[in-house]
């Protein structure tokens, strides 16, 4: 009887111990379990040391996390910060060059939603890939957190997110006092003619709202071509052109807007409220999008941001 009881206790203890070890993974294995924006699970044995970034925004975030020197391959569009331009190019408009990527022997690749096929191919080759697809500025913070974990820089990630949120909060504090009527109407222009604009559900729409403005492109979902007569009829207070960076340098460009037939009547042009913004800052989903919010907030409300 006694022996049975001791045996029972022993079994119970064993179960307890093994149960505990099931609940809490042993600390010495140190495995990183990551889930990307498409619910794909990736585990790394240790923080990534040889990283490839196929997206300019990921490259920017990696440099901001202080691991730029670990990026061994980048896309042709990865031009920020300046050091990123020296990284081996692994693909441009025609998509990632898989052979080159494999030859660089990466332990982690950052991709975006548009790289779907390449992601599957790299998976097949046994390369760990995290595909990012942020839909809002809030989700950029989530991306930063994920990337920081993957490279073992969680502290730096938290600092970056805190800085981002603090700067957003500062802008929000100033523009939150605005009444609906004080929010200027902003027309964001992509290219002209066949005028493309950022409609509802785009980052730019969110940036304009956060900066204390109202996007003129209601009724257009995502990127689309708005009709010229709608721009005239809705009569924007501000025009922000964010497409060609070359024209940023040309002070005469304003004339083009006023020269368009019928546009001289638009409030923004009458009052000389036409601005340009660096397309790399406003179109990329990195922490730098805060700079776009700040820059546009200053354009729209110079009196609030002196």
């Amino acid at each position: 009887m006694k022996r049975r009881i001791t045996a029972g206790i022993a079994v119970l203890l064993l179960l307890l111990v093994s149960g505990c070890s099931l609940l809490a993974p042993s600390p010495e294995s140190g495995e990183l379990n990551l889930v990307d924006d498409f619910g794909r699970e990736v585990s790394l044995e240790e923080p990534a040391q040889r990283i490839i970034s196929l997206v300019p925004s990921s490259t920017e975030i990696l440099f901001a996390l202080g691991v730029g020197d670990r990026v061994v391959g980048a896309s042709e569009y990865c031009n920020y910060p300046a050091e990123a331009q020296a990284i081996t190019r692994v693909g441009g408009f025609d998509g990632p060059n898989l052979e080159l990527i494999a030859s660089l022997n990466p332990d982690l690749v950052f991709a975006a939603s548009l790289h779907k096929e390449a992601v599957e191919a790299m998976e097949g080759m046994g390369i760990a890939v995290l595909a990012l697809d942020p839909q809002s500025i809030g989700e950029i913070s989530g991306n930063i957190r994920l990337m920081a974990k993957a490279v073992g820089r969680e502290e730096a990630g938290n600092t970056l997110i805190e800085d981002l949120e603090e700067r957003l909060a500062k802008v929000a504090e100033k523009v939150s006092a605005l009444k609906e009527g004080d929010r200027p109407l902003v027309f964001f222009e992509g290219w002209y003619p066949g005028i493309s604009t950022a409609g509802e559900g785009t980052f730019i729409d969110e940036v304009i709202t956060l900066a204390g403005g109202k996007n003129l492109a209601w009724g257009i979902s995502r990127w689309g071509n708005i009709q010229e007569e709608e721009v005239l009829a809705r009569n924007p207070d501000f025009i922000i052109h964010g497409y060609l960076d070359e024209i940023l340098k040309d002070p005469d460009t304003m004339v083009h807007f006023a020269n368009r037939d019928g546009w001289a009547e638009i409030k923004a042009i009458k009052e000389n409220q036409v601005f340009f913004i660096d397309p790399d800052v406003i179109n990329r989903t990195s922490h730098r999008i805060v700079s776009a919010v700040e820059a546009i907030a200053k354009m729209l409300h110079p009196d609030l941001f002196e």
Partner: protein
């Protein structure tokens, strides 16, 4: 042989349709403006108190030139198509058969990549570059196809196809390197009238007048050519000279139209065919009927392109292909049954 009555009736119907689509094109749009106000604006009558200041600009500076540009482009393209089909005695011929569209695309894409629209040339940079590109490709085809002072339609067709394909590859190469401007190039190649103003319209006119005049002048010669070049020669047509003139004139029509609108396909192929089904192949009927019907078709397509997705808009070339294709098949089927 179709009857004179059918053709007269068709002209009346086409003229009525043209009037209707022009009116609808100005009256309807993304922004709602009451008909009474539009009529007041069009007749320069005093506007009632409280009329938004933008309305006159929308009607007179955007809608009216846009509708008229669509009319001219549609007419020019289908006139050019009718001529090419007669000239090549080939039902598959269209305004772009000798490479005008690919040449124009190379010009337009290059102008976009170089950012010429933001230089002093402004809104004319892309049309000018496209027009020049279209004419260059025509010149290339014309000189490449000559052998011993003569140009057979076959060698013109072959040279046209080769130059077209080559320039198509150049466009593809340019778009490949265009990065973020890619969408702009692609959009231009789908055609449209957004941002086209009175000056664009006027800049097209002399070329359309010249090309159209030459084509109409040679309507009877086209009938003679349709019976074969030898017959035409015996009928007193200076075959080589007339062929050259017609080729240049119809290419000029296409290049001028495309330079303003971007590529609008299908019009130049389908409309002349439809007119041939309705009233026969005599060019004194076919040419004016195609011009009228082409105008109606593109103005109506542009109206659709503006209304369907408002406040956004569709590329017109997409609408012409989507609407024109099924309609053409219907006509073909109907003819076979009859």
């Amino acid at each position: 042989m179709k009857g004179r009555r059918t053709r007269a009736a068709a002209f009346i119907v086409l003229a009525a349709l043209l009037f209707l689509v022009l009116l609808a094109g100005v009256l309807a749009g993304s922004v709602f403006i009451p008909v009474a106000d539009i009529l007041r604006i069009l007749t320069f009558s005093p506007l009632s108190e409280g009329t938004p200041a933008m309305w006159p600009a929308i009607v007179l500076r955007l809608r009216l030139p846009r509708v008229l540009a669509a009319l001219l482009v549609g007419s020019a393209l289908s006139l050019s198509g009718a001529t090419m089909q007669g000239l090549f005695k080939n039902p598959l011929a269209d305004p772009f058969i000798i490479g005008v569209s690919s040449g124009a695309s190379v010009g337009a894409a290059a102008a976009m990549l170089l950012g010429l629209a933001w230089t002093k040339a402004g809104a004319f940079a892309i049309p000018l570059a496209a027009f020049a590109g279209g004419l260059c490709s025509l010149f290339l085809v014309y000189s490449l196809s000559a052998s011993g002072g003569r140009r057979s339609t076959l060698s013109l067709l072959l040279a046209g196809t080769a130059v077209s394909t080559f320039l198509g590859a150049v466009v593809a190469l340019l778009t490949y390197f265009s990065g973020e401007q890619l969408q702009q190039v692609v959009f231009w190649m789908m055609g449209g009238f957004s941002g086209r103003n009175w000056l664009h319209l006027f800049s097209m006119l002399p070329w359309l007048g010249l090309g159209g005049g030459i084509v109409f002048w040679h309507a009877r010669d086209l009938d003679a050519l349709a019976q074969g070049e030898e017959q035409a020669y015996y009928l007193g047509v200076e075959v080589e000279r007339v062929k050259g003139r017609l080729l240049w004139a119809s290419a000029l029509l296409a290049a001028a139209a495309v330079s303003v609108s971007g590529l609008i396909g299908f019009v130049g192929l389908v409309v002349p065919h439809a007119m041939r089904i309705i009233g026969g192949g005599a060019h004194r009927w076919l040419l004016p009927a195609s011009a009228l019907a082409g105008g109606v078709f593109v103005v109506a397509s542009d109206l659709l392109a503006r209304v369907v997705l408002a406040p956004a808009e569709l590329p017109v070339g997409l609408v012409t292909a989507l609407v024109g294709g099924p309609f053409f098949l219907y006509l073909l089927k109907k003819r076979r049954v009859a």
